[in-house]
């Protein structure tokens, strides 16, 4: 019993954790954009891809991986800002905002995917793993980079949570999204806040792209890799709730990881969707509703 716990379940759980951190990072940006700005960003995955591609290019120029972690998200900020200002803002006040932003970002996603192919070519690329080797955890070998990713990812998630809930910048953002007019009359530059929040969300996606590239490799259609899981996590966790994204992310990835022990792996995606559908049916606001509870 103890042996099966150690050799079968523990590795699955720990593996699920490393995948979970990856998914949560993706979902964080999405829940911020979806929850705070009420925008369905179908192009979120493409920003994840952009981060990965830029990371590969920068590393190709000789810049070390650690620097790309900082540079790449910063590079994406102007793009996110512009996208919000030039595109999303135009349809934001429309009655059918949800559909229009969905279609708009879908159009952007289509363009970006082809664009990556044009710029970087169709072949797969993979940056060298920044931390090599493996260590033994609970009797099973784990690659060091993944262990690093889990810890760094956890830190990052915590930092984002701190930023949004415990700093004045965060409260400005929350105020601007909860009550636009009131915030504006209190002197908050609402448009700029919106644009920067969007930029922040996609920068997070890009950062996850850089972090995950050594594990999952880089290619033009990679934007679709995590987007479905990310949406599921956002829905189940509750729009705009970071705590929800974390818990839902961990739950769903553990579900996937452990279920592969008992059923054929191809059913793991449908199971996640089934959970998402069930949550939507019975508690559509998700596990943790929105902004107020963190």
């Amino acid at each position: 019993m103890l042996e099966s716990l150690q050799y079968i379940y523990a590795p699955q759980i720990i593996n699920g954790l490393s995948i979970g951190v990856a998914v949560i990072l993706m979902a964080l940006g999405l829940t911020i954009i979806f929850g705070l700005l009420d925008v369905i960003n179908m192009s979120h995955g493409e920003f994840y891809a952009a981060g990965a591609f830029l990371g590969v290019s920068l590393m190709g120029l000789g810049i070390s991986f650690w620097w790309t972690l900082i540079i790449v998200p910063l590079l994406l900020v102007p793009f996110g800002y512009l996208m919000q200002e030039l595109l999303i803002k135009k349809v934001f006040h429309h009655k059918d905002r949800h559909i229009l932003t969905l279609l708009l970002t879908f159009g952007v996603a289509t363009i970006l995917e082809d664009l990556y192919k044009v710029i970087w070519g169709a072949n797969t690329a993979k940056p060298a793993t920044p931390i090599t080797g493996a260590s033994e955890v609970l009797g099973v070998m784990f690659p060091n980079y993944r262990l690093f990713l889990m810890m760094f990812g956890a830190l990052l998630i915590f930092a984002v949570w701190l930023l949004i809930y415990k700093t004045s910048i965060g409260s400005i953002v929350r105020a601007a999204t909860l009550d636009r007019n009131m915030s504006a009359s209190l002197g908050i530059p609402v448009n700029r806040v919106y644009a920067l929040t969007f930029a922040f969300g996609v920068a997070l996606a890009a950062l996850s792209g850089v972090l995950l590239a050594p594990i999952y490799s880089v290619f033009p259609t990679m934007g679709k890799d995590f987007i479905l899981m990310a949406f599921a996590v956002v829905i189940v966790g509750g729009l705009g709730s970071i705590k929800g994204a974390v818990i839902a992310g961990l739950l769903l990835t553990q579900l996937q990881s452990l279920s592969s022990l008992f059923i054929s792996p191809v059913w793991s995606d449908p199971i996640v969707f089934a959970v998402m559908v069930l949550v939507l049916m019975f508690k559509p606001s998700g596990l943790y509703a929105g902004m107020k509870n963190g």
């Binding site: 429309h94 969905l102 708009l104 952007v108 082809d114 829905i235 191809v266 089934a274 049916m281």
Partner: protein, 323 residues
């Protein structure tokens, strides 16, 4: 619908009719088959767009998974025609009934929520369904099924051969017209009015004594039938089915054609589907980066013409009238 919208819709209906007639004449003269069949395919996917517009434009529910019913209809049709009996009428009838049942069952899952959540549930349902078909060897798994025979339609006075491009086009055109006018008819019934009420202010209706779930369910089932029957025509045209027919891209494209044509106008869906198919064919031949072109087009439409082509027509008419 105001006077200009009414006019605009009428104009579009005539345009579609005239275009169809021109196409048929053109087909008869040149003996062309490709463009007729392309137009037929456009109308088939136009049917799917109609089902999306019924839910989105009329009732106010954005469905991102109508391809589920389309694919279901397609696979069922392929199975009936290939493995049972190649009868057109039987096929359509069975598909219509089965789609209705499927729509009814899934409505209990999907109609639990509204707005964005409804969209996501519909998306999730389609994904799960598509994955299941993809994993089922009996249905050809990822390769799909080929070998669907060309059908004949026995009528009292003559037999229509669907292998002939003009015949198939005419049959599809008539079928889609019937569906279109049937849906239009519904709009002017009390049921249609309730749908309009659900779209504009659903929370108010119960206070006025109306049950909202039932009308929504009816719309959902109708949409499933329309999508299913449209799907049933696909294997008759192309001779095969594959899981790609249920992927998100199909549902997404349908939504795009609805927006392109004009949400809520019904005719816009048929027009939008034709336009998009032709555009894709032309752009696809000109450049291999057609995705970028189409993507840009969507963005332009969404930002500058969210009411679609019918909307643009409407505005032009209003301008002319008030000049």
């Amino acid at each position: 619908m105001d006077k200009y919208q009414y006019q605009a819709v009428r104009i579009m209906e005539y345009v579609m009719l005239v275009a169809a007639i021109i196409l048929i004449i053109f087909g008869k003269i040149t003996g062309d088959t490709f463009f007729l069949r392309l137009a037929t395919e456009a109308l088939i996917f136009g049917g799917l767009a109609l089902s999306v517009d019924l839910l989105l434009g009329i009732v106010g529910l954005l469905s991102l998974g109508q391809a589920l019913y389309f694919g279901f209809g397609a696979y069922l049709s392929a199975l009936i025609l290939r493995d049972w009996v190649p009868s057109f009428w039987l096929c359509i009838l069975l598909v219509a009934i089965s789609s209705a049942i499927l729509g009814w069952v899934t409505s209990y899952i999907a109609l639990r929520s509204k707005g964005v959540y409804f969209a996501l549930i519909s998306f999730g349902l389609a994904q799960v369904f598509a994955k299941s078909i993809y994993n089922t060897r009996a249905l050809g798994a990822s390769d799909g099924m080929v070998g669907v025979p060309i059908v004949q339609i026995p009528l009292p006075f003559l037999t229509l051969n669907l292998g002939d491009a003009i015949t198939f086009f005419v049959v599809t055109f008539i079928l889609m017209s019937c569906i279109y006018f049937a849906l239009k008819y519904f709009l002017y019934t009390p049921l249609g009015r309730i749908w309009g009420g659900v779209r504009s202010n659903e929370s108010r209706l119960p206070y006025l004594g109306y049950n909202t779930q039932t009308p929504k369910r009816i719309a959902f089932i109708l949409a499933a039938i329309v999508a299913g029957v449209s799907g049933a025509l696909y294997p008759m045209l192309r001779g095969f089915v594959s899981p790609e027919l249920m992927y998100f891209s199909v549902s997404g494209n349908a939504v795009i054609t609805v927006v392109l044509g004009g949400v809520g106008t019904l005719i816009g869906s048929l027009f939008g589907s034709s336009l998009l198919m032709i555009l894709k064919s032309i752009i696809g031949t000109l450049t291999f980066h057609h995705h970028i072109v189409i993507g840009l087009l969507f963005i332009v439409v969404v930002i500058f013409a969210p009411k679609g082509i019918v909307g643009i027509l409407c505005t032009k008419l209003k301008e002319r009238a008030t000049r």
